[in-house]
Symmetry: C2
Subunit: 462 residues, 2 copies
Amino acid sequence: MQLARLIGPDLLALAEENPAEVAELVDEIHPEDVAQIVAELEDEQARSLLTALPTDYAAQVLARLDEERQGRLAELLGARSVAAIATEMPADDRADFFSVLPDSVGDPAFEELERVAPQAAEEVEEIQSFPEKSAGRWMTTDYIAVDSTLRLGVAIEEIRAKAADAETVETIYVTDQPGHLIGTLSLRQLLLSKPNELVSEVMHGNPISVPSDMDQEEVAKLIANYDLHTLPVVDQQGSLLGVITSDDVLDVIREETAEDMEKMGGMEALDAPYLKIAFGRMVKKRASWLAALFLGEMLTATAMAYFEDEIARAVVLAMFVPLIISSGGNSGSQASTLVIRAMALDEVKLKDVWRVVRRELAAGLVLGTVLGTIGFFRIVVWQTFSPLYGKHYMLVAITVFGSLVGVVTFGTLAGAFLPFTLRKLGFDPASASAPFVATLVDVTGLVIYFTMASIVLHGTLL
Amino acid sequence: MQLARLIGPDLLALAEENPAEVAELVDEIHPEDVAQIVAELEDEQARSLLTALPTDYAAQVLARLDEERQGRLAELLGARSVAAIATEMPADDRADFFSVLPDSVGDPAFEELERVAPQAAEEVEEIQSFPEKSAGRWMTTDYIAVDSTLRLGVAIEEIRAKAADAETVETIYVTDQPGHLIGTLSLRQLLLSKPNELVSEVMHGNPISVPSDMDQEEVAKLIANYDLHTLPVVDQQGSLLGVITSDDVLDVIREETAEDMEKMGGMEALDAPYLKIAFGRMVKKRASWLAALFLGEMLTATAMAYFEDEIARAVVLAMFVPLIISSGGNSGSQASTLVIRAMALDEVKLKDVWRVVRRELAAGLVLGTVLGTIGFFRIVVWQTFSPLYGKHYMLVAITVFGSLVGVVTFGTLAGAFLPFTLRKLGFDPASASAPFVATLVDVTGLVIYFTMASIVLHGTLL
């Protein structure tokens, strides 16, 4: 990797002066490194470097750039070059690539692809016919399958002939005559077996496979749990359609994680890197969430107005309002984070709701008592130094203690319960973000606090 | 998978009646499925099922159970069975396994392992000698390496002989005479090349490798960015020590994500599944964070006390306190989430700090103006229906508008800046959790609000 950073400028100079040597040079460099170099170049420079690269290598570099850049470079390269490069991409990358190109260059390039490599174009159409974010959309059709009735010697010859084009060779898929997936062969088994054995005798039966419409988050979980390198995709009849490879899973998991984090931070997911997304688009995505939370939070002003008389009579009550409601919000966001995380890792399922609620009720009471005790002593100790809270300071301290127990318990319960409700209703539990829970708890917190005050302080301050 | 759920009870019955048939039955079942069955069984039943399984299969099942269960079953199985099972695990899983066993069974089992399989025991000690969470701790030593001076025909024979024991065979590593890693051979290349070619002629040079002390989060990023299936680990001299496989990466990425989420939710990372961690341990981890936030939040009571006179004179001011401070907290947690996420994805680096701050300053001003405008009209429109805010309602509305612009801008800036500061100081930027930012912004928000009020309302309400 260090190598690539050093040779970046040289590579560009070479591409301009002596394109023929570029091919030789990049043979030992990972396409990711060249993609990082290209990402820093001006469009025109990037184009000349891509043109100097061998087509199959250029395909790997181009597929690693961000969508916007892919579009701009495709415009510069023109339909013919784009089609030639796309032909060299694995089928899944090729389908992705065409789905992000602007029509102005994507349409002529696809027509060109249909002309020069009809099979490659057909694969794109096939993959794009599956719903977005489904297993089918994500699979490659560049795998190797052999018939179960072959002898291993013959099968190995077939595999050898197909290996150069396949995206994955570690696992060979075994199909019966109508094309149903019935087993797998590992290269390890091939290395260890004798040429005259039948494929059906050596293969591993009962392979794990998924239907083409399975959601990609489910697919990612399956691959992670079963430590799979590849996962075959089948249609309703069990016929092999394609294969998902585990390197694609890493990307999906990272994307899903980023989305979850953004939801939990109280905003719609950005669909581009932070420094690259247009300012207006970013602000719009953020403003809509903040405004929604703000409208909810307005209820606090209504609640406070309702208790205006109490505040006027005992201004000391106002002093603890931020402390009380923020404690409820913090404990609520803690509980919702815990539950969302446990749901994402499948540690907690919908049916566990009452176990979780019981646990969080207990946790909330303990946590509330801890914070309440700290708050109580804060007031009592402070009072001995400066008589800030008046002669009824002990009653104020009791009010704060009781309110904290109530607010923290309520916040914890609400935070734990909300993700279950959202999932039950078919929403993403990660939408139970900290700010959302806090807003919910703030209003209730005020009601709990002032109700507690009117009970404890009745006849003295109120 | 469905299959395994159906046969769960049968498998157990068979293990008790006719253990010999179990081996044949599980041949077609993924160990993860059997692990899920075992997870639901009583300890004694689990023990008899594990005993009935072929040792290498039992090893795969045991390695997939959670730590506590591994310890309890190891006690029941006894040192000799444990050593026999551990011998069949890949070296990295074996090292993990011994690191989680309680000493009471781990020590005698390890002594037994040293006796029956000294090499396996040595591998465990070697892996455990690397620091926790480093690349060395995570690698397997069950890989295949061949000498660069061999002819391919000879190399293939060597590979064939070693393939049965290796965890990964898709990539073969090539070393020179002193053992330095100098290249890789893919099985695909082997399939396509001629037996009399030299390994050094066919191999792919300049392999990507990592030092044994690299942090596992860095390793995971590298594997994800470069779409690697395996990644070799070398010592300072460049000698090959072991290999990391991408299936382990998925687990690490999920763990790291969960930790980040927990930090962002305002708590220390739990180190066990939610429903399994002891109640006391969980509450302790949560209470420490909540208490720390609570102590910080107490400054709001101090700030409110400072403005007691203003509140007493204009109680209407108290009504908007929750709304103002929560808006600052929400915008701050949104900004910090964005920056933390962008840092995790390497979209933003330390050197980008001023670009980000400029962007967030602009975003904060826009978002503050949006919320301020909503707040302004809320007060003005409400007043026409019920004269809640007195005759100076217009001045109150202006105070709220100005405060929101100030508080949201400050919150956004603070939320964006904090992750940079934490990273610069060597802490995890994810510690800039929503609750932490909110606490910081709450106090400042109060000061901004009451300062704004004293300017706008001077001579009227104040």
